[in-house]
């Protein structure tokens, strides 16, 4: 029976190292491990390696080589007899492999060492199953039809969601309930474009809402900077950044930084860029404690979900911006009854502490102070996106396209910290401030 390359897709996940043998013109063989073998199509594979100079020299003189690949599900080995065709140093395939390599090497702290110089394309002339006394497991591959149905179910929920918060929930609940992917985060790009902030998560001991990732850093940041999916099937070889740092509210109060949630024993990760209208909106990230938790087919399905979410969020932003004009709400005295609590605002970074607990900083912090000031001055509790956008006091030209998601971040973080101030969405482009008790707003200088 002829083995097709497409049947060996699991061998190209990069879990078990592949091997290449070549021969110099004088016959001297060379044998070397490979960092990365990629399935190009049914007739070609691509190899990337920054180190194997003897192999590179050999195939330029004698293009015939042998490559041993291993199925990580049952250990089955396949020997490919290949012929070197050409080296690529640009193009879609090169960029994809370079992005993957950068994503893993920034985490290993190898940076420059792992820079991809070229991708060697080989034509596969024969595939030979290496005999084994062990039975080969028949692992059925997931049906594409099933994946498509799952994607359709999730995108339907997304399309029915009417505001940014429900869209985020539809994505994360859908991944958990339909795909059974239990650990996921959705991060959005902040207006500076330098960072992504977590707007929702599932499966972690704390939500990490408001935690940030630098664009270009790690698997998530690389998916953002490269605008490509990044998938790692075996994290045991990669040191996970920040995993040793134990998250606590004490740490949050001290550093004014919310830590990214994470799994101690993460093995597989996949990050999908969320792009709409040609611009990056955020990153959808999933992880698992299992090796090979995300297949290439899963990645393709998740790209559809991430893209749909990006489009829906972009639309929600536009619609909320249109908002209805502000209706005059009943002007009342702010509630001064109930328990008194302190809200401290640090002007230099707009960080907010409620009852000495760090809440948030930056634009969402500024937004909260703005709303609270109006509430304390006029007793008003309802606000429209439109008036916030036009506010002189806020001076925020940069939040034009991000107001809805900034408000969502603020709302979720208030919920998470269970503080006596909560923000409710009461209609398209309208929010309500709910204050339980008597708020005392203090301005702090440092």
């Amino acid at each position: 029976m002829t083995i097709r390359l497409r049947d060996l897709v699991a061998c190209f996940e990069g879990v078990i190292p592949s091997i290449i043998a070549t021969a110099a013109p004088d016959g001297t063989p060379n044998i070397s491990y490979l960092s990365h073998v990629v399935l190009v199509d049914d007739e070609r594979v691509a190899l990337s390696n920054q180190f194997f100079s003897k192999t590179a020299a050999n195939v330029r003189a004698n293009p015939t080589a042998a490559v041993l690949i291993v199925d990580p599900r049952d250990g089955a080995q396949y020997q490919l007899y290949v012929a070197f065709e050409q080296t690529l140093d640009s193009g879609e395939l090169f960029e994809e492999m370079a992005a993957q390599l950068r994503a893993t090497s920034t985490q290993m702290g190898l940076g420059e060492v792992m820079r991809l110089r070229g991708v060697d394309i080989y034509r596969v002339e024969a595939v030979h199953a290496v005999p084994s006394t062990r039975p080969r497991l028949k692992v059925p591959s997931r049906e594409a039809g099933l994946q498509l149905m799952t994607v359709a179910a999730i995108t339907r929920k997304i399309s029915e969601a009417v505001d940014a918060g429900s869209i985020v929930d539809a994505v994360l609940d859908g991944l958990r309930d339909r795909f059974n992917f239990t650990n996921a985060m959705l991060l959005l790009k902040d207006p500076t474009g330098e960072r992504l902030f977590t707007i929702g998560s599932r499966g972690y001991d704390r939500s990490g809402i408001g935690s940030e990732v630098l664009v270009g850093e790690g698997v998530i940041g690389t998916a953002a900077s490269e605008r490509r999916p990044v998938r790692v099937s075996d994290m045991s070889r990669i040191r996970r950044f920040g995993s040793a740092v134990h998250a606590s509210s004490y740490e949050e109060n001290r550093t004014r930084t919310i830590l990214l949630p994470g799994m101690q024993d993460t093995m597989s990760q996949v990050a999908l860029p969320m792009i709409a209208h040609g611009s990056l909106r955020g990153v959808l990230f999933l992880e698992s404690s299992r090796r090979l938790a995300f297949t290439k087919e899963d990645e393709v399905a998740l790209v559809v979900v991430a893209t749909q979410a990006a489009a829906a969020l972009a639309l929600a932003e536009t619609e909320a911006g249109e908002g209805q004009p502000s209706e005059p709400t009943v002007a009342a005295e702010p509630v001064m009854a109930g328990r008194q609590f302190r809200v401290v605002h640090y002007a230099y970074d707009d960080s907010i502490f409620i009852e000495n607990e760090y809440l948030i900083k930056g634009v969402p912090g500024r937004l909260l102070v703005h709303l609270l000031r109006i509430y304390l001055r006029e007793g008003r509790t309802e606000f429209t996106n439109r008036e916030i956008r036009l506010s002189e006091e806020l001076r925020l030209p940069d939040i034009k396209d991000n107001l809805e998601t900034r408000l969502l971040l603020l709302r979720r973080r208030l919920e998470e910290k269970a503080v006596p101030i909560q923000l409710l969405r009461v209609g398209r482009g309208r929010i309500r401030l709910e204050v339980a008790g008597s708020a005392v707003l203090e301005e702090a200088a440092d």
Binding site: T22, N30, I31, S53, S132
Partner: protein
């Protein structure tokens, strides 16, 4: 001058000898008469330091082409790689095929056991690694070492450590 045997011996340093005999993955490269390369795995190595020779145990049943290639032209490259940290060395030279001794068989059994344990520590189950450690119809490839190279990924990869004078 490759293929030229017997005149001098590459003394294998004690640390290399210890490394080669420890639980490291052993992969073999050979080639046929048309310079088509072939890959195989060995299930253990016995280092004869003073003779500059390494015996590699390999299943002829699993890797018949490799054994054929060695019988035909003797040219052999072997990479020893430690799975936990990728420390690797490549050894090149001329080899012959010999029947296995009782000692070879015992050592191969020990190698399989320790290799299974080492890979197990990295999270690879026994059923996954078993196809890489087959011992049916073992033969010994007697390799006379001519060159030793550092193969660990990084700046020193490909650097020559020892060469037959």
């Amino acid at each position: 001058m490759l293929g030229w045997k017997g005149a001098s011996i590459v003394l294998i340093h004690e640390e290399f000898a210890a490394f080669m005999a420890s639980p490291v993955m052993i992969v073999l490269g050979t080639r046929d008469g048309s310079l088509v390369p072939e890959i195989a795995r060995a299930v253990g190595a016995v280092v004869h330091r003073e003779e500059g020779r390494i015996d590699l145990m390999i299943s002829e049943w699993q890797w018949p082409r490799t054994v054929l290639n060695v019988r035909a032209n003797g040219q052999l490259a072997v990479t020893f790689a430690r799975p936990s940290d990728y420390v690797s060395y490549q050894v090149k030279g001329q080899a012959t095929v010999a029947p296995v001794s009782a000692e070879h068989i015992t050592l191969a059994a020990g190698y399989r056991k320790s290799m299974c344990a080492a890979l197990g520590e990295l999270g690879l189950e026994r059923r996954i690694v078993a196809p890489w450690l087959i011992n049916r119809d073992l033969v010994a490839l007697r390799l006379t070492v001519e060159e030793i190279f550092v193969q660990t990924p990084g700046a020193k990869a490909g650097q020559l450590v020892e060469r037959q004078p």
